[in-house]
């Protein structure tokens, strides 16, 4: 009865188009008032504690801030140049380079739609000009863009960690190999298609150009290395790594890349033939002079506002989702469902099929983080009872969410690709369908070979001597 009421009210609220946070909170608080004896004051305290009692959750605003600083057109261009110089000379190289660029930009920005928009806006046109079919260009980008939530640091993984109280650091380790694998799978498929269709290769640019473009891109790449290195090495908690990366991203964006802030457009060399000493001194002086200005500059404030808008939205949903999870646990709802499922004699692999289908369906209607917050507290206890590793379950859920981003009606990536190519949604769907098949095969692999996800976290545990 309580279960039915909770889910009925939630569904009703969601369908009216109210913000998900309110829908979760309202359905939980109404259910509590109707069926249990908790006082309003204790519920109020619970909501406050959800905001002020979880240090791990702070990684979310910090990562969002750092990615907002670096999610600029300038950074995307640098990464694309680097990727093309890297793998462009292979047959089908331009498409492979776009996958590589998507992987890197995804890790820096942590957002799928942003990756598709930034990388796609340049490379789709570039590929068409180089003689690729437009369908292929659009399809590859739409799919590769989903890597944003799988390759760590990933916001969606932090949300899963928050919902299940699992270690975010271990999830970040677990997502690394699947992310690389997914990218590699796409690249292999591209190579095969390129061989069959005789797609062109770009000329080899030479080591000097490659060095130059990798140096330029390295400032952004360093962010991934700092974050993952310090988390994998156990030096920092994800929250601390995120705060450091936010400050690092601020410096890179304003003083090195100069895409924003008071130094915007300022050249590194005043005149073409300036020597190194003169350049260093001049830029140091410029930076010192600009430092106080940056703190009050309108670009800094805009980034802060953009980041906090997203963070507030997410953290408020998480707070209300914790109320929702509280109702679930006190009513022992997951426990009852688990008993029923175990009673059916459903094996772990059968349960995982159900999980995949359930998540793929939900992924068609809601945002990844919202789905995770609703589904994880229900699925998690069942999975644990069936002997499925919680970290493995997390990766399965994230890959499902990836697929949700490219299936209608709420497939964000489809909308973005449709926006940048000017084609219809149906056209984009058809274009990305063959590549979606690869993603589905990948999902089956991830689901039934837990070692892909669990190898790295277990290996790092062994290194540390546990």
């Amino acid at each position: 009865m309580t279960t039915a009421a909770l889910f009925f009210i939630l569904l009703l609220c969601l369908l009216t188009g109210m913000p998900i946070a309110f829908a979760l909170g309202l359905s939980s608080i109404t259910t509590i008032l109707l069926f249990s004896h908790d006082s309003l004051a204790s519920i109020a305290l619970k909501l406050l504690e959800s905001q002020s009692g979880h240090y791990t959750l702070l990684a979310i605003p910090f990562f969002i801030l750092s990615s907002t600083f670096l999610s600029t057109g300038g950074v995307a261009t640098r990464i694309i140049n680097f990727a093309i110089d890297c793998v462009g000379w292979i047959r089908g190289g331009l498409a492979m380079a776009s996958v590589l660029a998507c992987m890197i930009f995804a890790a820096v920005s942590g957002s799928s739609p942003a990756t598709v928009a930034a990388i796609g806006s340049i490379v789709i046109a570039g590929m068409v000009k180089a003689g690729y079919p437009k369908e292929m260009a659009a399809g590859v980008i739409t799919n590769a863009g989903t890597l944003g939530i799988l390759i760590p640091p990933s916001i969606v993984m932090l949300v899963y960690a928050a919902a299940t109280e699992e270690s975010a650091a271990r999830l970040f380790m677990a997502g690394f190999i699947p992310g690389i694998m997914m990218g590699t799978l796409l690249m292999i498929a591209i190579y095969i298609v390129a061989r069959i269709k005789g797609l062109p290769a770009q000329p080899w640019v030479g080591f000097k150009t490659l060095l130059r473009s990798s140096f330029t891109a390295s400032w952004g790449l360093m962010l991934i290395i700092i974050v993952l290195g310090s988390i994998y090495g156990g030096i920092c908690s994800p929250t601390e790594a995120a705060a450091v990366s936010a400050v690092y991203a601020f410096f890179i964006a304003i003083f090195i890349y100069r895409d924003m802030g008071p130094l915007k457009g300022e050249k590194w060399q005043e005149n073409e033939g300036d020597g190194l000493p003169k350049m260093v001194v001049r830029n140091l002086l410029l930076s010192v002079k600009a430092l106080p200005l940056t703190l009050f500059h309108k670009d800094t404030k805009k980034v802060l506002m953009d980041a906090s808008k997203v963070s507030i939205m997410l953290l408020f949903i998480i707070g209300n989702a914790m109320l929702f999870a509280h109702v679930l646990t006190t009513e022992r709802i997951p426990h009852h469902i688990a008993e029923i499922i175990v009673g059916w004699g459903l094996p772990a692999w059968g349960f995982l099929i159900v999980v995949n289908i359930l998540l793929l369906m939900a992924g068609n209607f809601m945002e990844p983080s919202a789905i995770l917050l609703i589904m994880a507290p229900i699925l998690f206890p069942i999975a644990v009872q069936l002997g499925i590793d919680p970290i493995h379950l997390g990766i399965i859920m994230v890959v499902n969410m990836e697929i949700g981003m490219i299936t209608p009606p709420v497939g964000l990536n489809l909308f973005v690709t449709s926006g940048i190519t000017g084609e219809s949604i149906t056209w984009v769907m058809r274009a990305s369908l063959p590549w979606l098949m690869i993603l589905l095969v990948f999902l089956v692999m991830i689901t039934y070979i837990p070692q892909i996800s669990l190898f790295l976290p277990e290996y790092i545990d062994k290194l540390k001597g546990y």
């Binding site: 969601l14 369908l15 009216t16 188009g17 109210m18 913000p19 946070a21 309110f22 309202l26 608080i29 006082s39 004051a41 204790s42 519920i43 109020a44 909501l47 406050l48 002020s52 009692g53 979880h54 702070l58 605003p61 801030l65 057109g73 300038g74 995307a76 261009t77 640098r78 140049n81 957002s111 739609p113 928009a117 990388i119 796609g120 806006s121 340049i122 330029t216 920092c236 601390e240 705060a243 400050v247 890349y257 895409d259 404030k301 802060l304 506002m305 906090s308 808008k309 963070s311 507030i312 939205m313 953290l315 408020f316 949903i317 209607f365 945002e367 009606p409 964000l412 926006g419 940048i420």
Partner: protein, 184 residues
């Protein structure tokens, strides 16, 4: 004019809270690795800054339409039906804030009566936690304004964020950056 000032203050407070919590954690990391010392109270302060940012910012988020929701069904309605459903949704959220205002009032009153402080900071607990009440009242005010808008036909209900549309700005920006010659 009055609303513009309010808006400016809201934005300044939110930006300041986010910046200060980030810097606080950053400084703590630097102190730990650079000088092998720490700040005992930093964690508690950061967490409370975050709670203030979120609960203070929710009402701002409603105003600028940065919350996410499911509008797949509502979009298929006629404008009039959309306004009715939107109005009901806003009213339901008002009910939510009413419950929380009452709950947090009782809670804060009790805390004030007991008069305990936070664990590491010498701040009264009811003062640090008062943001729950403040935030909920702010949300309620915003919802009342929104409800009035729905009645007069100015709004159709909640404005939800459209991530795809926002990503398009980035696409424009990237195109511009690529045409602007080689970066750095």
């Amino acid at each position: 004019m009055f609303f513009r000032i309010i808006n400016g203050i809201e934005e300044a407070i939110i930006a300041l809270l986010l910046a200060s919590m980030t810097l606080l954690v950053f400084v703590e990391v630097v102190l730990r690795f650079g000088f092998s010392t720490g700040m005992m109270w930093a964690q508690e302060l950061t967490l409370h800054l975050s709670a203030w940012m979120v609960l203070f910012g929710v009402s701002y988020g409603i105003k600028v339409g940065s919350h996410i929701g499911v509008d797949a069904l509502v979009k298929t309605f006629t404008p009039k039906a959309r306004r009715i459903v939107g109005g009901i949704a806003v009213a339901a959220c008002l009910f939510y804030t009413a419950l929380f205002i009452k709950g947090s009032w009782v809670y804060l009153a009790k805390m004030r009566q007991i008069g305990i402080e936070l664990d590491d900071l010498p701040i009264q607990k009811w003062v640090a936690h008062s943001i729950l009440l403040i935030g909920m009242v702010m949300i309620a005010i915003r919802l009342v304004i929104l409800l009035k808008g729905v009645f007069t036909g100015k709004n159709e209900g909640f404005t939800l964020t459209d991530e795809a549309k926002e990503a398009m700005h980035l696409a424009e920006e990237t195109k511009a950056a690529a045409q602007g010659g080689k970066p750095v």
